[in-house]
């Protein structure tokens, strides 16, 4: 098992290095000069000395290879430099928002698991019944509905309901307070974006649970268990669900890694000061250092989540590690 983990960790390196090269080149492909874009985006003229100073400050006056070396060196020790917009260290800017985004991501994952596994299982067990059709429609709608629209609908629902019940409209708070400081306040703020993102996430996982369960329920050992007279509930819980969970774990892992993409839009709707909002701001403010750092963070999370999923997979199904 240790050998397998080491091999998987080593395989992460080329992906991360490739992503670093790609994001570095992408940022350098931007037409024009970043300093010009920042200082004269309205079309005005800039003093050449100011421009030179700006380039020296950012480091864009250095040769490309030297710039790449600085970027990679910083990446290795998680030092991404300073934000070109606020001038503060990027690691501090990210640290401020990471907690919030991580909490929303975890809550959305829990929402997805809580919805997907029971719904997918019921749908498979009651295949082609009205329950199955309702669950399938619910999950297809989840994939089709943009999470930011669902977010707007949730806000609309909260406004209308609170006005009808309490007379005055209520809106979720927008100032982040950690969960351990004030759990009620924290949850009243983050439960809504978690629901909006979690529903879409659950839709993908429900479809996967259903198809995996349908496959497993047709296996010989399930038929044997039935023939032996094992209770139906026990067959579903102990024999079928356990084996069907493998692909579901994979999809939950992959979706968790991609959650960052979904959060970019959801955070905007709920006005949350998380990583997604920071990403959009860094793009609109031409803060390329920040954009590079955030992209690398997302790719790093993706690679790490994949690693965890693979290890979990190998742990759950010993055949996988013996085959390699």
């Amino acid at each position: 098992m240790l050998g397998y983990i080491v091999k998987r960790v080593l395989l992460m390196i080329p992906t991360l290095l490739g992503a670093a090269i790609l994001v570095f080149l992408l940022m350098r492909l931007i037409p024009g000069d970043i300093c010009m874009l920042r200082m004269a985006s309205g079309g005005g003229s800039v003093d050449p000395t100011v421009l030179r100073n700006c380039r020296a400050e950012i480091g864009t006056d250095q040769p490309m290879l030297a710039q790449f070396w600085v970027f990679i060196k910083g990446l290795a020790v998680l030092d991404f430099g300073q934000s070109m917009w606020t001038g503060r260290p990027i690691i501090d800017e990210i640290g401020l928002r990471f907690q919030l985004s991580l909490q929303v991501a975890i809550m959305a994952t829990l929402t997805a698991i809580a919805l997907a596994i029971p719904l997918g299982t019921i749908s498979a067990v009651k295949q082609n019944s009205w329950i199955d059709y309702v669950v399938r429609t619910f999950s297809i709608a989840g994939v089709a509905m943009p999470s930011f629209w669902l977010g707007i609908l949730i806000i609309l629902g909260i406004l209308i309901t609170s006005k009808a019940w309490f007379g005055t409209p209520w809106m979720p708070p927008i100032r982040y307070v950690p969960l351990w400081v004030d759990p009620l306040y924290n949850l009243s703020m983050l439960i809504w974006p978690a629901l909006a993102t979690g529903y879409r996430y659950s839709a993908v996982a429900t479809r996967m649970t259903r198809s995996a369960m349908l496959e497993v329920l047709r296996e010989d050992y399930v038929r044997t268990a039935r023939a032996k007279g094992v209770f139906r509930k026990l067959i579903v819980r102990r024999h079928a669900l356990r084996n069907a969970l493998l692909p579901v774990i994979t999809i939950i892992g992959i979706e968790f890694a991609f959650l960052m993409g979904g959060l970019v839009v959801t955070e905007q709707v709920f006005n949350l000061n998380g990583l997604g909002k920071l990403f959009v701001e860094s793009i609109t403010n031409y803060d390329y250092n920040m954009t590079q750092a955030l992209v690398m963070l997302v790719v790093g999370i993706f690679a790490l989540t994949n690693l965890v999923v693979d290890i979990l997979y190998a742990w759950l199904d010993p055949r996988i590690r013996y085959n390699r």
Binding site: I30, A144, F279, I283, F302
Partner: protein, 294 residues
């Protein structure tokens, strides 16, 4: 007699086409529903000039935030623009972005995937690592990065959505192409001395059309969603071009309570379109995959 002999096969062909459509609808009622949604959307997008009567870009401050009425079927937005017209013309934007990016992304992915499988060896290894790197970027993040380089607007949004689709399609097509590469007719083509281009394009590509078509249909729905997300963030299609995501930006949230139609209808349009393409794509996959068909 000659007329009779010519029309007979034509009638037979027509009836075969009709019967296979009927069979598709009977076997996949959900897929047929999806196809209807796609068809209606396409019709509205093409004939937008004939099915609307208000200019989708004209501000009319006398009728700001009007609720749905006989004149304004779906109400008006904060600038007094007709929401129905904007949704119909928005279908044109959504379909254009959806189809072009899905077609170009899937086609480039098809050629690269087949070539990777055909040449194998070091080329395949390096190519797959590049695809790994591209696939490590979430769709929206990569699209946002591309938009930050090339700027906003319909053409750049298409480019931003096309690039992330290429590795996804290439990966799926490659796995099918690997099986095709081992078939005797590819060996025969090689033995005949055909060029690599000819073998890839004439002999391998037509045999991996099923995964290509499936990927393309699925990609249209995804592209519509990403376009809506980018436009919602203000980094996609720009005003005054009617686009569904853009319609949900700004006013939709601000006036959610007093004029909920501004927030509700564009969202329904996006969801319906993606819902239609997903259902149609699922049915197409079942129909084209003989294993699922049986």
């Amino acid at each position: 007699m000659a007329i009779l002999s010519e029309s007979a096969p034509q009638t037979a062909r027509r009836s075969t086409v009709l019967s296979s459509i009927w069979q598709f609808c009977r076997q996949n009622p959900l897929g047929a529903a999806g196809a209807v949604v796609v068809f209606v959307m396409g019709f509205m997008a093409i004939f937008a000039d004939f099915v609307t009567w208000n200019d989708p870009t004209r501000n009319n401050f006398g009728v700001m935030l009007e609720p749905p009425s006989a004149d304004y079927w779906l109400g008006t937005d904060q600038y007094g623009r007709d929401l129905y017209s904007r949704i119909v013309y928005g279908a044109r934007t959504a379909l254009m972005v959806g189809f072009v990016s899905a077609f170009v992304g899937a086609t480039i992915g098809l050629i690269l995937g087949v070539a990777s499988a055909y040449f194998g060896g070091r080329f395949d290894l390096i190519f797959q690592r590049v695809m790994d790197v591209l696939m490590a970027f979430p769709l929206v993040i990569l699209a946002l990065a591309v938009v930050s380089i090339f700027g906003t607007g319909v053409e750049n949004v298409i480019l931003a959505i096309t690039i992330p689709f290429i590795p996804r399609c290439a990966r799926v097509v490659r796995s099918s192409a690997l099986a095709v590469r081992e078939t005797p007719y590819i060996d025969a083509a090689r033995a005949c001395g055909f060029s690599h281009t000819r073998i890839v394009l004439r002999h391998m590509v037509p045999n991996v059309m099923a995964p290509y078509l499936i990927m393309m249909t699925a990609a249209v729905g995804q592209a519509i969603l990403i376009e809506a997300s980018l436009s919602f963030l203000g980094l996609g299609v720009q005003e005054p071009v009617p686009a569904w995501g853009l319609m949900l930006r700004g006013g939709a949230q601000e006036y959610a309570e007093s004029a909920p139609w501004v927030a509700i209808f564009p969202g329904i349009a996006i969801s319906l379109a993606v819902f239609g393409f997903n259902l149609f794509g699922d049915a197409l996959r079942d129909w084209l995959d003989p294993k699922l068909k049986s």
